[in-house]
């Protein structure tokens, strides 16, 4: 895929994950800037999804399975919104920890996406 984008996503999602988990474990309640941090990750994820789809339409070939790739792509897009929805069912410090964990999961999904694209 686009290497710069993958690296940026990994940095942003891991950073966001660590910040949110630390904030949560320090006992902070969810604040708007926390949602902004998760939102920033989501924005980059959307950019990645758009770029990936455009590349596919332009004829780029995925080394691995296209179906699996698209499944992972959808997974990266819905992970944070679903976690936020679930977490805000009971706003607490654990909402932030859950969101942080989801950011780390997103990082793993992005890694897998890149591997499927490259066929490694």
């Amino acid at each position: 895929m686009v290497d710069g984008l993958v690296v940026a996503l990994l940095v942003v999602s891991v950073l966001a994950g660590v910040v949110l988990i630390v904030e949560g474990l320090r006992g902070r309640e969810p604040l708007w800037w926390h949602l902004g941090v998760a939102g920033a990750v989501e924005v980059v994820l959307i950019v990645q999804a758009v770029v990936a789809v455009v590349l596919l339409i332009q004829g780029d070939q995925i080394a691995g399975s296209t179906g699996v790739f698209l499944a992972y792509l959808v997974g990266t897009l819905i992970a944070l919104p679903l976690t936020l929805l679930w977490g805000l069912g009971e706003p607490s410090k654990w909402t932030l920890v859950a969101l942080g964990v989801a950011c780390l999961v997103v990082a793993v999904l992005v890694l897998r996406l890149d591997q499927i694209w490259a066929g490694t």
């Binding site: 179906g67 699996v68 679930w86 977490g87 009971e90 607490s92 964990v101 989801a102």
Partner: protein
Amino acid sequence: MSTPSSPRRTSRGFGRVLVVVYGVFAVSASARAIVQISRDFTEAPVAYGMSAFAAAVYVVATVALARDARRTATAAVLIELVGVLVVGALSVAAPESFPRDTVWSGFGRGYGFVPLVLPVVGLWWLWHTRPSGATEGVSAQSPAPSSGDDRGGT
């Protein structure tokens, strides 16, 4: 300051995080099983069947923990613990019986051993949030009359 407010429901507090992790495994294990079985089930029916079974266990555990269905959650988490130990041991001792990876192969090595840790955390959480039962009150540190808390009881 604010104590953990002794949450008695499995979906509250830390349970919020636990359900997210279980949900991730429910989704990824299901997706994996669907891909494996749809490609060629006969290639490795035991391994692929176990993939599907593991996925079902994660789905049940996720829903049960999220909806405070304590008994169902306990059963699912126990099955999950047995599953990861048995499949893990078999996949190491007799790799030919599991020619294709499942979530539980190699004790969940492919998933950073989270599948091995998750049921232990799940059981701890179910125990931690257990109903107070016969003892009155929900005091977090009810002092045990006997010395020490390692009396072998569960």
